[in-house]
């Protein structure tokens, strides 16, 4: 099972390592936020803004992961792999592993870039911060592959994504504090597990409790991986 996962991971990682263009372009969006949006929050804003940006990267970076599966579903690649003795869970976990590794590398680069702007972070904080980002990536990546496998069509998948990601992001308070808004909007954000993950990520790089965020991310990981594994194990998938 471990070997299977490693092989599936290595297979999907190899083309990315050989041709890292996508990884580099993936850095463009967070860098733009860092350079063109971050300064609006003033000198003291970095400590607050960068952790939110990392969560946003986890969200956008792994939610679209399912797109890489669709060509392999349409051609016979996934089917070919499903007739090998490789565990079907490994077919999912190996892929999610690739996305999470890339996410962590990109996040680390953004943290380092942010430090040039004035963001302060101890090595231990970075480690914890990236760990939380990775967990969120596992949850969202697994769900993304499962949804892609279910809807099978790019244009349907794209509209499912935009319909879910945008509200989840707006209600998570990554760009502006939710407490600035009216009561109803604030309470709506409290129902969004991602808002608690954002709070926890901020607490790691400042002070505050990470408990609620850890609980939220754990629930998301369990739900995402359960949904992913169940979908990948389905016969007709």
């Amino acid at each position: 099972m471990l070997r299977d996962t490693w092989l599936v991971f290595a297979r999907v990682m190899l083309p990315v390592v050989r041709n890292p263009v996508a990884v580099i372009f993936g850095l463009a969006q967070p860098l733009l936020y860092l350079g063109l949006f971050g300064p609006l929050l003033g000198d003291t804003g970095w400590q607050w803004f960068v952790p939110g940006l990392l969560v946003q990267m986890a969200l956008f970076g792994t939610a679209y992961a399912g797109f890489s599966l669709l060509p392999e579903v349409r051609t016979g690649v996934l089917e070919r792999l499903r007739v090998t003795p490789v565990s079907r869970v490994a077919l999912l976990v190996g892929r999610v592993g690739k996305d999470v590794v890339l996410l962590v590398v990109q996040s680390l680069l953004i943290v380092l870039a942010a430090m040039l702007f004035g963001f302060r972070a101890a090595p231990g904080e970075i480690l914890l911060g990236l760990g939380l980002v990775a967990l969120l990536g596992v949850a969202i990546g697994s769900a993304s592959y499962a949804i892609a496998l279910k809807v099978k069509l790019e244009y349907v998948f794209a509209s499912v994504l935009s319909a879910t990601i945008v509200p989840v992001m707006l209600l998570s308070g990554v760009l502006l504090p939710m407490s600035n808004g009216p009561q109803w909007l604030y309470w709506l954000s409290r129902v969004n597990p991602l808002a608690h993950v954002v709070d926890a990520e901020r607490s790691i790089f400042a002070t505050g409790s990470v408990l609620l965020g850890l609980i939220s991310v754990s629930v998301l990981v369990l739900a995402g991986v359960y949904y992913g594994v169940r979908t990948f194990n389905r016969e007709s998938a």
Binding site: E79, R80, P85, E235
Partner: protein, 310 residues
């Protein structure tokens, strides 16, 4: 190698249940090359997907390569090769990488996988392409890569789903030679096709499926012999006169066609008899029955028309 009993699959659709496969029995002995013939939508692929663990049967049971399909699908997967209808190589992957990973998925070491991949590259005329992206290969090359990927673990039983669909005649012929070679090497091959010439050329034995049930079984020649006699087509201005002399004769303008047993031997006497009654002939043709005729007699439909319509 394959022993299936009452294998069935029912799909639930919005307009109600659809029985894609209605309880088929399949027996394939070791070393046989069996063709599974039927028009599009007859249930060929569904049956194949059940036999290869891709689809759970709704009824029935099967032993594939010594392993129970229902209780030991992992054992089945380890011991069969499967080449699907569509291409199995990842577009962004290199040919050599895909082969090596596929071998390692079957438990081979890195070293073993590399050796085996090299062996199959050579055997399927893909040498020198290991560093190329799969997406740059021609249709025929991709198909050979697919088959190579199905053989990395030396399976004793290989499933091929419509192996030559969308190939040009030359690649097709080349592919057939490779498949024949597999049989000569002692590999049991089970292939689906809706091409008569393919089924005729490759198979030791044919199973004919239509509407989810097996409607006929036998070697291509046995099946052809079931059609009563050879088709004789005569071109003559007196077509209607000639038609009265033979059972079930069909007149089409200045042409009359009918079936007689052993047409090639019967023809000389037949021509003499026609000459005797002053029938003027300007053309004579004798056709051995084709698998299409077989299909027509078994199902009342022409396989060829169906394939053209699809």
């Amino acid at each position: 190698m394959i022993k299936a009993r009452g294998l069935a699959r029912r799909f639930t659709t919005k307009s109600g249940p659809v029985d894609a496969v209605r309880g088929v029995d399949i027996d394939v002995a070791e070393g046989e090359l069996v063709g599974f013939l039927g028009p599009n939508g007859a249930g060929k692929s569904t049956t194949l997907r059940m036999l290869t663990t891709l689809l759970q049967p709704t009824a029935g049971e099967a032993i594939i390569a010594g392993h129970d399909l229902l209780t030991d699908p992992a054992g089945v997967r380890r011991n069969i090769g499967y080449v699907g209808q569509k291409n199995g190589g990842g577009a962004d992957q290199r040919v050599g990488d895909e082969l090596e990973f596929q071998a390692r998925f079957y438990g081979q070491s890195k070293h073993e996988a590399r050796r085996k991949a090299g062996e199959l590259l050579e055997r399927f005329d893909l040498l020198g392409m290991e560093k190329r992206a799969v997406s740059t290969l021609s249709g025929g090359q991709q198909r050979r890569l697919d088959i190579a990927m199905g053989l990395l673990h030396d399976p004793r039983l290989l499933f091929l789903d419509e192996p030559s669909t969308a190939l040009d005649p030359q690649s097709r012929r080349n592919l057939w030679d490779h498949i024949k070679q597999l049989r000569a090497d002692g590999v049991t091959v089970f292939l689906t096709t809706h091409y008569l010439d393919e089924a005729d050329f490759l198979s030791d034995r044919l199973l004919v499926i239509d509407h989810g049930s097996i409607v006929g079984e036998g070697s291509p020649d046995e099946l052809k012999n079931r059609v009563s006699g050879d088709l004789v087509v005569l071109g003559t201005p007196q077509a209607t006169t000639v038609a009265t002399k033979f059972e079930n004769a069909v007149v089409d303008g200045e042409q009359v066609s009918f079936r007689i047993p052993n047409g090639d031997r019967a023809l000389p006497q037949l021509l003499k008899d026609l000459d005797h009654i002053d029938v003027e002939l300007h053309s004579v043709q004798v056709h051995r029955p084709t698998l299409d005729d077989v299909f027509l007699t078994m199902t009342g439909r022409s396989l060829r028309e169906d394939a053209n319509a699809a």
